[in-house]
Structure formats: structure tokens, C-alpha cells
């Protein structure tokens, strides 16, 4: 098991989400940056869909009463492994499996870039699943509670897991993000130049962004049609435009249906990039070139 000494600004348990229930009003949820969670799991020999911990702005401390193999990916944090008879705390590395001895403690600093850091433990976080997933859904409240000081997280069995066979994986650099988009499904609700406007000047990520969506401030996307769009199914990566004309990129906890038109949808490969945008970052959109 792992004990949360402090969770940092916001930390939750996440796996790859809760598929198959959107028609019942259940968000997909799961890790916002699935690329990072999958990598962290592979590094410790877990199946990619095991549950890990998603930190927001780092800042956490985790205690390990029993020893465990751990890997940390996503937004790069200063990382210190302490305690357990170590004379000096050791600086641990991102993107590489390492052993935390029994009685050890992992301390995460604040990432200089990026937003979400993922912690995988060999065996996975074994909280009780809800509708087939261990993810905390911040929109609907399904799944385990948000981590607090004192939260105890069980770790699953390690027998039968793959060997740990990778020393270190190159980390994706959270950088100045250019997000590729596919137009539609409702680009015809906007004035003819709106897609060009979306892909023109950069947008800034605002403070009220969260796991539901990245809220942006920048060029206003003007509608050609007024009135309300009948509620329709929404996908992750949808760039939804409320009446303010300021777009929102839907992340893992987005509502499964919505009534504001979606001008474009992020290329699937860029969803993880969007999930690492932090308030104050700027980002640009570009039309995806070749259809896949």
C-alpha cells in the first residue's frame, strides 16, 4: 500500500477510463494524458491500463510502508526518494523504473513545464473499481475520492506481471504546443473565416481549466447560426465553442453530451499534449494535413 502524506494541489487515481456508458450520461474519464500513464505502467511491467496516480502541479509526498517499483512520467518534476535508512535523500529520475524501499518516501517538486505527472506502481493502485474503472471522475463524482493527506491506496498483486525490462524511456518534452485539428462536426455553425481564425493567432490557457476541459482565451470564434444546437454526443478533444466565442478543449472528464457547437476536434495523438497545458501557457491550432 501507499499512504498519501500530501497530495499536492490536486491528485487523483486514474486508469484508462470508463468506456461504454456515455449513453447513460457517464463521462469517459481516465488519465488526462493517457500516453504518459501508459508509459509509466509499461516501465514497471504493468498492463497499460492499470491505475496510477495523476498529480496536478506536482507537490505530493507519498509514503511506501512496503517497498515497490515505481515509474514517474508526464510533466517533469524534481523527485526525491528519502527515508528508509538512506543517509542522504536521492534524486530519482523521470521516465525510468526505480525501487522505493520499505519505509521510503517519494517527494515531488513543482514541474517547470507541463501540468500532470503520473506515478505508476508495479501491481497498480487497487482501489475498488466503479463501473469497471478506478478513475476519479471530477465531473460526476464517480470513482474514488480525490486524494487527501492520509488517504491509503492499496497496491495490486505483482505475480504474473511482465519483467521490468526498460532502463529509461525518452520523455516527451511538454513544449510550445501546436495542436492539430480535424474540422467539424459543426464548423458550419460558424462564419466562413472561423476555422482560419482558430488556426491563426495563439490562444492562452485560462485559470479555470481542469480535467473537464482546457479553457482558452484568444480570437473570438463567431457564429453564423444562432439558436441552440440540439444536445448531441461529444468526444474527447472536441473544441467546443460556447456563446462567448472562446473555445474549450474537452479532456477526459468532459460531459458525454453537449449543446454548444464543436468547430473542430483534436487529432487523437495531440490530446495528451493538450492535457499538459497549464494556465498561462499559449497554444496554437493547425489543420491536420493528411487524413489517416
Amino acid at each position: 500500500m501507499i499512504e498519501v502524506i500530501k497530495p499536492g494541489p490536486y491528485a487523483t487515481v486514474q486508469d484508462l477510463g470508463r468506456p461504454g456508458y456515455a449513453h447513460l450520461g457517464v463521462p469517459y474519464s481516465g488519465a488526462a494524458d493517457t500516453t504518459a500513464l501508459r508509459l509509466a505502467n509499461r516501465l514497471v511491467g504493468n498492463p497499460e491500463g492499470h491505475a496510477g496516480i495523476e498529480l496536478t502541479f506536482g507537490g505530493a509526498s507519498l509514503a511506501f510502508p512496503a517497498g515497490a517499483w515505481v515509474a514517474v512520467t508526464g510533466a517533469p518534476c524534481p523527485l526525491i526518494s528519502a527515508g528508509a535508512g538512506m543517509t542522504v535523500p536521492v534524486r530519482a529520475g523521470m521516465g525510468a523504473p526505480f525501487w522505493v524501499p520499505a519505509g521510503g518516501e517519494l517527494r515531488f517538486g513543482t514541474p517547470a513545464r507541463g501540468l500532470r505527472t503520473y506515478v505508476a506502481v508495479r501491481g497498480g493502485i487497487a482501489v475498488e473499481p466503479v463501473l469497471g474503472s478506478r478513475s476519479t471522475d471530477s465531473l460526476s463524482g464517480l470513482g474514488p475520492a480525490v486524494l487527501r493527506p492520509g488517504t491509503v491506496l492499496p497496491v495490486g498483486p505483482v505475480d504474473g506481471l511482465a519483467e521490468i525490462s526498460v532502463d529509461v524511456a525518452p520523455l516527451r518534452e511538454p513544449g510550445p504546443a501546436v495542436l492539430r485539428v480535424v474540422p467539424g462536426p459543426r464548423d458550419d455553425w460558424f462564419v466562413p473565416g472561423a476555422l482560419k481564425e482558430l488556426c491563426g493567432r495563439p490562444y492562452e490557457v485560462t485559470q479555470d481549466s481542469n480535467r473537464v476541459g482546457v479553457r482558452l482565451s484568444g480570437p473570438v470564434l463567431e457564429r453564423a447560426r444562432q439558436g441552440e444546437l440540439p444536445s448531441e454526443g461529444m468526444v474527447a478533444g472536441a473544441v467546443q465553442v460556447p456563446p462567448s466565442g472562446q473555445p474549450i478543449i474537452f479532456l477526459a472528464d468532459h460531459p458525454p453530451t453537449g449543446g454548444y457547437p464543436v468547430i473542430a476536434v483534436l487529432s487523437a495523438a495531440d490530446l495528451s499534449t493538450a492535457a499538459q497545458l497549464r494556465p498561462g501557457d499559449t497554444t496554437r491550432f493547425t489543420l491536420r494535413k493528411t487524413p489517416t
Binding site: A22, H23, G25, L131, S231, E232, G233, T257
Partner: protein
């Protein structure tokens, strides 16, 4: 018309809720490869299928949408019985709704429970079903200021819809009453008593 919703999603325009429901049923029966989500809406069905051959899926959806657009043969209400929801009509807004519609509270109850409703789609929160087919006399606006918490099991109306709150949540719908029937339970399979197309009848308890 079928619109792309990103690389993994296709949004099929059905033009009506009934066609959405028929397409939803056809898709659930067939489950074309890689389909993860089928989300019917009032005029669309969203199909999410990561890794699917989008061209082939689009062709199949075109055929299924065409079949769904045909009026059904036979009695579509045959088979599954309607879900009966017993209601204690003592809601905080019952008197206001009566005043606004020019009815007595008893008449509001009679009109609310007098017709069979159909689940249009779910959204807002897990298990929150938008019930369609409400008596037009009962189409009232939402509260100007939503309540910060509406108790689980509240039976409410707003606009052309009725609903049963599946869990406690904020809400601006007008409360007519409450039911003990559990419409949402994460431990049940399926977790929701209501699915798109489910027929529902309210009954004074």
C-alpha cells in the same frame, strides 16, 4: 448525413429522436468492430470507434441509418413493458406549476401521470434521463435561480421534459414530487433503469 467528429468519431444525423432510437438499437444489436460508444441524441447518434476502418464504418452506418429511417413494421411498444415510477406528488414547486398553468395541483398530477413518456437521451449527470412526450400544458420554464441541491429521487419537469434526479445534484427543474424507485445504481448491471427509448409511466403513490 454523417459528419466526422475527430479521427475516431462519426456523428450520424437522424433528424428525429425516433430514428436515433432505432439506429441506436440496430447498432447495439450489431456492434460493428471497434465501436466503444453509441450515444443517441434528439437528432443525432454519435458513434466512437477508435481503430476502426473509418470508410467501412461510414458505409455501414449509411446503410443502418437508411434502415432506421424506415417506419417500423409492427407494434414497436410490444415486448418490454413500461417502467412504472410511483410518485408522491408533494414537490416544492407543485403549487407554482399549477398556478402558472392555470390548473389545480390535482390536474397537474393527472396530466403528468396520464401519459406514457419515453426516455429521449441521458446527460447532465450519470443516469439523468430526459423524458419526452410530456403533456404540452406542463411545459414550464426552469427556475431563474437553480437550487444548489435537489434530493435524489426528485421528480421534476422543465420545458418539454420530465426527469427523475438519479442522485443529489444542483438543479433548476420544477419539483413535482419524489419517488423511492432507484433509477441509478452503480452496482447494478445495467446501472440505469432508464435507457434511450425506455418507456416510462408515472403513477401517484
Amino acid at each position: 448525413m454523417i459528419r466526422a467528429a475527430g479521427e475516431h468519431g462519426l456523428l450520424v444525423e437522424t433528424g428525429s429522436l425516433e430514428v436515433s432510437h432505432r439506429l441506436d438499437a440496430l447498432l447495439r444489436a450489431e456492434r460493428p468492430g471497434s465501436v466503444v460508444e453509441i450515444v443517441p441524441g434528439p437528432e443525432t447518434v454519435l458513434v466512437v470507434a477508435p481503430g476502426a476502418d473509418q470508410l467501412r464504418l461510414r458505409e455501414r452506418l449509411t446503410d443502418l441509418a437508411r434502415a432506421a429511417a424506415e417506419p417500423p413494421s409492427g407494434d414497436r411498444t410490444a415486448g418490454t413493458p413500461a417502467v412504472v415510477v410511483p410518485v408522491v406528488y408533494d414537490g416544492a414547486d407543485l403549487a407554482d406549476v399549477a398556478g402558472e398553468t392555470g390548473l389545480t395541483p390535482e390536474e397537474v398530477v393527472a396530466r403528468h401521470s396520464g401519459r406514457e413518456l419515453v426516455v429521449g437521451w441521458l446527460g447532465f449527470s450519470p443516469g439523468f434521463a430526459y423524458l419526452t412526450g410530456l403533456d404540452p400544458v406542463l411545459h414550464v420554464s426552469r427556475l431563474a435561480t437553480p437550487r444548489t441541491s435537489v434530493p435524489v429521487g426528485s421528480v421534476a419537469i422543465a420545458g418539454p421534459h420530465s426527469a427523475v434526479y438519479p442522485s443529489a445534484s444542483p438543479g433548476g427543474w420544477r419539483l413535482l414530487g419524489r419517488t423511492d424507485l432507484r433509477v441509478w445504481d452503480v452496482r447494478a448491471d445495467p446501472p440505469s433503469l432508464f435507457r434511450p427509448g425506455t418507456r416510462v409511466r408515472f403513477e401517484p403513490a
